[in-house]
Symmetry: C2
Subunit: 113 residues, 2 copies
DNA sequence: TTTTTATTTAATTAAATAGTTGAATATTAG
DNA sequence: CTAATATTCAACTATTTAATTAAATAAAAA
């Protein structure tokens, strides 16, 4: 079978399993953001935001462009795609299995008559 | 904006952030499995597998049909779809933003001439 | 009814997580 | 050069996680 693992799936899903980090993703989807911009909506220290950002970077979901004293953070499209791919594979697989099952049932019904 | 949060996203992504649990999902995608069947490929106690299963159930990714002393575990298609939806929303959003940016650049280039 | 099989619960442990505060580092502005 | 701004690092704490082993339940088989 195709290996849909990918090196970072643990880190990707872990990074997304937190609403603060998902909200940060949401913000970066809208436009690139500095660390302190990312911090604005949250009732949380900058150090905490910095750590959340590290988690997103570890997962390769975010890239950072250091620009003087401000760090600009941008989503990494490829990584989002990688996670989507994993999920979508199983979603489709399941659908397919469901259809097969349905066909079996129809066939059985036909043979009954 | 549409709320792509959903009640269980924390739990869903957390559940998927572990390769043992992803492998269990993989197995159940193929066909429904009992707890001890799920345990076979892993060098791990049944108690540990039972707990992993609980994490998948808490996330609503798995449903259990108790059949006498064996419990049959099945993937919940809707929940997989929910996570895919969240990811796909951002993936598309990002793509769109990327396209817009590209258009801007093309326009700027044209006006340069 | 006793034994075996399937699964969970409880108690424990080591490591990871999410947050804090205070100090440190780097860069820019006055 | 000094002060302000942007960000990280270090030390600490409480909670959660992933695993273990041993005991408990519950159902099926002998």
């Amino acid at each position: 079978m195709v290996n849909y693992e990918g090196k970072y799936l643990d880190e990707i899903f872990h990074a997304l399993a937190n609403s603060t980090r998902r909200e940060m993703v949401n913000m970066m989807a809208l436009e690139d953001r500095s660390v302190s911009e990312l911090a604005v909506p949250f009732d949380m220290s900058l150090a905490a935001i910095s750590k959340h950002l590290k988690v997103l970077e570890r997962a390769n979901l975010v890239e950072r462009i250091v620009n003087g004293r401000t760090h600009i953070c941008r989503l990494n499209k490829e990584t989002l795609a990688q996670a989507t791919e994993w999920l979508d594979f199983y979603r489709k697989f399941w659908s397919n299995r469901f259809d097969l099952l349905e066909n079996e049932l129809l066939k059985a019904k036909k043979e009954e008559q």
